[in-house]
């Protein structure tokens, strides 16, 4: 801004106008930045204050049977959905990423890349409704852990594939050539040389995918259902609870205790999502993945 405030003995009317416009412009831009950042801080503040005041040991030890109870079943459900979704998605996503980065620099590869981006851009509710048609209605699974985990897996596989691809591309070609020159086979080159070198990027991708699956709601409405009890060990024909369900349904209840539960659930979700994202951004500096 030094140019606009440089000292000059005389300023013409036109120059004054330009300086004033410029300063007004900076003020407007600064206000815009404040308006962008303020809601985030307010969200964190509101959720933290309301969520923390609803915190108690009971939250983790009792099930969501009524307004004044805990979140044990929902926490367990979110954890289960996330774990099984990751179990399905990580091998597929990393495998696809390996193909795209190592052997996919051709027409087929770019087609897969494009379709993967289309899948990323597909609204999650559409994926949820697709799963409802397939798993709940056609397969007759009913609301279930399997349907929910597969839906979330479909949602995060394209992220994992693209982030893995980007991470593997950072590995210099000379390392691959050196390995091949030593007589290494394809799997050896990938698993012993390329993947270890790109491990931090791949793990980052997996963590971001984890954060996405913890925070998702829309695809679960039509697949997971809701249950007041902890998991009974069945993958189908048994609905599961999840934290984000508590947030969007309990806030509509009239009583304050339900609201407190909704905020407590939101606090837990935000804690996981923000912890992962801040942690990743602090360790991997200025790497744009998404």
């Amino acid at each position: 801004m030094s140019a606009s405030v440089s000292p000059k003995p005389f300023r013409s009317a036109l120059e004054m106008k330009r300086v004033i416009y410029s300063n007004l412009g900076w003020v407007a831009c600064g206000l815009a930045l404040l308006l962008v950042i303020f809601p985030l801080l307010d969200i964190v503040w509101v959720i933290a204050v309301n969520g923390l005041s609803a915190f108690s040991v009971k939250l983790f030890t009792t099930d969501t049977t009524g307004a004044s109870s805990g979140l044990r079943n929902a926490i367990e459900g979110t954890a289960l959905i996330t774990i099984f979704a990751m179990l399905i998605a990580v091998p597929i996503g990393i495998g696809a990423g390996i193909h795209l980065s190592e052997y996919g620099k051709n027409k087929t590869g770019s087609t897969i890349r494009f379709l993967s981006d289309v899948l990323t851009g597909t609204p999650s509710i559409v994926l949820g409704y697709f799963s409802y048609i397939i798993f709940i209605i056609s397969f007759g699974w009913g609301f279930s852990l399997a349907a929910a985990a597969i839906t979330i897996a479909i949602l995060i596989v394209p992220y994992l594939a693209r982030i893995t691809e980007l991470a593997l591309e950072q590995v210099p070609n000379t390392m691959r050539e050196a390995a091949y020159a030593l007589g290494a086979t394809d799997p050896t080159v990938v698993f012993k040389v390329v993947l270890p070198a790109a491990a931090s990027g791949v793990i980052t991708g997996a963590l971001l995918a984890l954060a996405i699956s913890v925070g998702e709601t829309a695809p679960l409405i039509y697949t997971a259902g809701w249950s007041n009890y902890t998991w009974d060990g069945r993958f189908t024909h048994s609905p599961v609870g999840y934290l984000t369900y508590v947030i969007w349904t309990f806030i509509d209840q009239p009583d304050a205790q339900s609201h407190a539960l909704a905020f407590a659930a939101a606090f837990l979700v935000m804690l996981v999502v923000l912890a992962i994202n801040i942690g990743v951004r602090l360790t991997v500096r200025r790497t744009k993945f998404v």
Binding site: I92, H99, V157, A218
Partner: protein, 308 residues
């Protein structure tokens, strides 16, 4: 040709992604087939979504069994989606452009990473948390200070929440572009006697216009498909077109999410099929917008300009 099992197996894994996408499109199309036959083009132009009398005997129309009196029109939801996303873009573009300019030019390089991280973090806040904040903070505010009826749920609340959610997409795209503007361009503008703000607005912004538009279209794609936050603050309007900023609305996505119970209650399954058609329409809209964003981002549309 030598068979390489490892390459084949990772290739097979990568094919699962297009396969999943094709399965989504295919099954939505197959499942909505009867609904498409029953609804025809009225689906897109009718205002009324009526599930019909589910306790009466179903009637048969065009060889399709439907509850009597059922009609499925989604014009209200299409309008709700387009208007709320359009308003969100109108709110978000000036904010994110201002924020990006301030971040790239006025903020010391030392604290820029912190502030830009804050902006990027907005993008990772789950949709349902935005909705919760909307209900707890934004809706009461609109109800008390702006809305003539005292009801804060509606189009304005939905648009503001959507705007907040897409701001980081536009802002971080633009910030990256601004930081990459060559030094020479900035310096020549300064040398001509431009004020710092004129350098940004007249010399740098025109250079990043294509990127900015690409980012806006990308953000539009995200806003169109956004579900939970809209569902929670939009007031869930239906069967009547919005008339003011405070009218209750539904978007296509929020409507699908809110219809679970009624879909399950229909003995003919027609409402499930009709909802599948709704999901298909939403998919096609977002596909078109995202493909547009990709074309803009890859620069396919401004190749000619660059060469000349």
């Amino acid at each position: 040709m030598k068979i390489r099992p490892f390459r084949l197996s990772v290739f097979a894994l990568s094919l699962l992604i297009p396969a999943a996408l094709c399965a989504v499109v295919l099954f939505l199309m197959i499942y909505s087939g009867q609904a498409i036959m029953f609804n025809g083009l009225h689906f897109l132009t009718d205002v009324t979504w009526n599930l019909g009398d589910m306790y009466d005997d179903p009637v048969t129309v065009h060889g399709v069994s439907v509850p009597s009196g059922a009609e499925y029109g989604i014009l209200v939801f299409i309008v709700g989606t387009l208007v709320s996303s359009g308003l969100a873009i109108l709110i978000a573009v000036p904010l994110s452009v201002g924020a990006a300019i301030f971040l790239s030019e006025a903020v010391p390089a030392k604290i820029r990473p912190v502030l830009s991280m804050l902006v990027e973090l907005i993008a990772v806040v789950p949709s349902v948390v935005f909705g919760l904040w909307g209900i707890a903070v934004l809706v009461p505010f609109i109800g008390h200070h702006l809305s003539p009826t005292g009801n804060g749920y509606g189009l304005l609340a939905a648009s503001i929440v959507l705007a907040l959610m897409i701001t980081p997409i536009i802002a971080s795209t633009l910030l990256d572009a601004l930081l990459q503007v060559p030094k020479e361009n900035r310096e020549s503008a300064f040398a001509l006697g431009a004020t710092h703000f004129e350098v940004v607005s007249k010399a740098m912004m025109p250079m990043v216009r294509a990127t900015l538009i690409g980012g806006i279209v990308l953000a539009l794609g995200r806003a169109l498909g956004e579900t939970m936050a809209v569902l929670m603050v939009s007031g869930g309007g239906g069967n009547i077109l919005p008339t003011s900023l405070f009218s209750p609305i539904s978007t296509i996505a929020s409507f699908v999410a809110g219809q679970l119970d009624s879909a399950e209650a229909d003995p003919t399954n027609m409402s499930v099929r009709a909802l599948s058609e709704v999901a298909l329409v939403l998919f096609l809209i977002t596909l078109a917008v995202n493909a547009g964003a990709k074309l803009l981002a890859s620069g396919a549309l401004n190749v000619r300009k660059r060469q000349s």
